[in-house]
């Protein structure tokens, strides 16, 4: 692994399922990164504040309640509004394939569904930093094609 990154893992909205968020956070940490987990039920503003205060390079959003179409774009918009354009955003949870293009269009660079190996998330992180302009508010239209 090239370099340790600061990564915020966040639970937007009201969803209480955080088994996935926490094991992903732990796997990222065990791979050498510095990981901050926000805890449950964070507003978009609270998440963006955490990303800024922690000077994070990556933000992982988790949702299993079906509200991702509302919640993820709100967080992305707010990151852009506050000038945090270079933060790389990825997401996971129960997110139907049909909903994913709209999320990529907001600047999210990967969506990982149930059963994704954590090694794949680490690969994504290594690759995403190599891609130019892969931040949430930057020009690239690249996104990761996930296995699940």
């Amino acid at each position: 692994m090239s370099e340790p990154w600061r990564i915020v893992v966040a639970k937007p909205g009201l969803d209480g399922h955080d088994r996935g968020a926490k094991v992903v956070a732990r796997a990222l940490r065990d791979a050498g990164n510095e990981v901050i987990y926000t805890g449950l039920r964070r507003s978009a503003q609270q998440i963006v504040d955490t990303v800024r205060d922690e000077d994070a390079r990556f933000l992982g959003l988790s949702s299993l309640s079906g509200a991702h179409q509302h919640l993820f774009p709100r967080v992305c918009d707010l990151l852009k509004q506050e000038g945090l354009n270079d933060v790389i955003v990825f997401g996971g949870g129960i997110i139907p394939v049909d909903d994913r293009d709209a999320l990529f269009a907001c600047g999210i660079r990967a969506i990982f569904g149930p059963g994704t190996p954590t090694s794949e998330i680490l690969q994504f992180i290594e690759e995403a930093v190599q891609v130019e302009n892969s931040g949430v508010g930057e020009a690239s239209d690249w996104y990761w094609t996930s296995s699940a």
Binding site: D15, A25, R26, R41, S43, G115
Partner: protein, 533 residues
């Protein structure tokens, strides 16, 4: 020595497995046949009723709810028509957190994981045309349980059914919310007070209602082992009993209405043994510590839902086989009611088709498999008796550990259970990723799957419609009366008066869920539990 496919053999929860259990195994574990007893007799290892399913099958109770009260009411009627015996209401997250549909935090969540109920008028629509003196209703509601039960009682009264006739269960188990499920609102002490207020009020006014469903389900979904599921659930149960006894309630006035809710995962024998162990352990704990006069006070009655977390998004039809194994284990373990999951739940909410297959799976077990024709069909198996004893002993050890930390509540405040569960979940993830644990479709039996699985699409206008209904309600009701009712709730919260009658009065006068919970927050405050990460 004949070679084996693996070097070490363990159950899904990590218990060591010997190749062949024998009479010697039982002797080593100090198990004798006369300890076992009969079904219907203490320690109830073999079941709480002497004739079990020969007299009455378990209640096939499918958890359902989505979108608006009207849409869910239609699904309920369909399930009843197809032979389901009781209802089980899934509420959306705003409702579960005591927020109205028009609250800012509710945006995007209204009607998603369950039905949106903000006022008495929604509850009236939800139960329209369903006879509340005949159908029993289970409601998965915790922090705001008192408000939703009050709405249900009010609707029953409108149907001419008095409170002492309504049948059902509220989950009302806040401790596992802090540990694993996340829909808590108030700090622990205030939450416990709401729960004991409900016990007290219902023991005289709503005597056929199960006032709590102490749940291991979500603890297991969050990643615990089978032993932890039993231990943490029973430790929580002991905390509720202790709180009620401290409030001055007689143990026999509420303990017979305590019910439990467990998970059922893939390891067939371990799961069947888990239920037998939980029943035995609860009997021992209750009878030793509280010496109840009513035998029902120490009988563990439980609902089971099969493990959502075991379902794979890959090759989803395979989930029908998983659910069948799990449901059979629950029946062999003596469950009182059962929810079978739909095969598409790793993808979205169940469709009408997948929900029907899930119900039919239970009917096949009931009528075709033979498992329901005798009591405790696995009893006496060396393997199952050994597992039962191991789970019993290890769970007791964990309960004593929690008590050494000051009890369930104190341990939660330290994040102890949360950490233990997180560690077990991480261990499981590593086992799967290192392929020491194989899961078909995930790390074994992989293939390109071209099955197109239809995913239930929700009505996107449900949030707006709920907001419109609320705006109408707020503009047509008696505002002074509403404000008086909410003051009463605040005053009772402050004074320590039982809150239930005040909440019932408030819902009957069209105070909304969000307003009543806000009135309580004004006095109780809110809380965040440690995550365990």
């Amino acid at each position: 020595m004949v070679s084996q496919r693996r070097e070490d053999w363990k159950t899904l929860s990590g218990l060591d497995l010997e190749l062949q259990s024998t009479a010697k195994t039982l002797a080593e574990l100090q198990i004798s046949e006369d300890q076992l007893g009969d079904a219907g007799s203490p320690p109830y290892t073999r079941g709480i009723h002497s004739t079990m399913y020969r007299s009455r099958l378990w209640t096939m109770r499918q958890y359902a709810g989505f979108s608006s009260a009207k849409a869910t009411n239609e699904r309920f009627k369909l399930l009843l028509e197809r032979g389901q015996k009781g209802l089980s209401v899934a509420f959306d997250l705003p409702t579960q957190l005591g927020l109205d549909a028009d609250d800012e935090m509710s945006l995007g969540e209204v009607g998603k994981v369950g039905v949106s109920i903000s006022s008495l008028s929604d509850m009236r629509q939800l139960m329209d045309g369903i006879p509340l003196d005949k159908v029993s209703t289970s409601m998965t509601i915790n922090a705001p349980a008192m408000v939703l039960l009050a709405m249900y009682i009010a609707v029953a009264e409108e149907q001419g059914v008095p409170p002492n006739q309504v049948l059902g269960t509220i989950q009302n188990d806040i401790l596992k919310e802090y540990i694993a499920r996340g829909t808590y609102v108030f700090p622990p002490a205030q939450s416990m007070r709401l729960i004991t207020d409900i016990f007290e009020y219902c023991s005289t006014n709503v005597p056929r209602w199960n006032t709590i469903s102490i749940s291991g389900y979500h603890i297991r979904e969050a990643g615990s082992t089978a032993v932890q599921e039993v231990a943490f659930t029973l430790a929580n149960a002991l905390a509720y009993v202790e709180a009620a006894v401290e409030k001055g309630l007689d143990v026999d006035s509420f303990a017979p209405r305590l019910s439990f809710f467990f998970n059922c995962h893939n390891d067939f024998f371990e799961e069947a043994a888990k239920f037998r162990a939980a029943r035995t352990l609860w009997y021992e704990l209750m009878s030793e510590r509280y010496s109840p006069n009513n035998p029902k006070s120490s009988m563990l009655r439980f609902h089971t839902q099969v493990a959502g977390v075991s379902l794979t998004a890959q090759q989803p039809l395979n989930n029908i086989a998983r659910v069948t194994i799990q449901a059979l284990a629950a029946v062999c373990g003596g469950t009182q009611s059962l929810h079978t999951n739909s095969y598409d739940e790793a993808l979205g909410l169940p469709t009408e088709k997948s929900a029907t297959v899930a119900l039919r799976t239970q009917q096949i077990i009931a009528e075709e498999s033979g498992a329901a024709d005798v009591v405790d069909p696995l009893g006496g198996s060396y393997h199952v008796e050994a597992l039962t004893k191991q789970i019993h002993d290890l769970a007791l050890e964990q309960i004593l550990k929690i008590e050494s930390l000051g009890g369930a509540l104190k341990a939660i405040e330290q994040g102890w259970q949360q950490r233990e569960i997180h560690n077990a979940a991480y261990q499981h993830l590593n086992d799967v990723e290192s392929e020491s644990r194989l899961i078909v479709g995930v790390n074994h039996g992989l293939m390109e799957d071209d099955t197109v699985t239809e995913v239930l699409k929700l009505d996107p206008t449900v949030g707006e419609e709920q907001c419109r209904r609320l705006a109408e309600l707020r503009s047509t009701r008696d505002a002074d009366l509403v404000s008086d009712c909410l003051d009463n709730v605040r005053n009772a919260a402050q004074s320590g008066d039982n809150l239930f009658p005040h909440v019932l009065h408030a819902v009957k006068n069209d105070c909304t869920l969000g307003e009543i919970i806000q009135a309580m927050k004004d006095v109780f405050g809110t809380w965040m539990a440690p995550s365990g990460f």
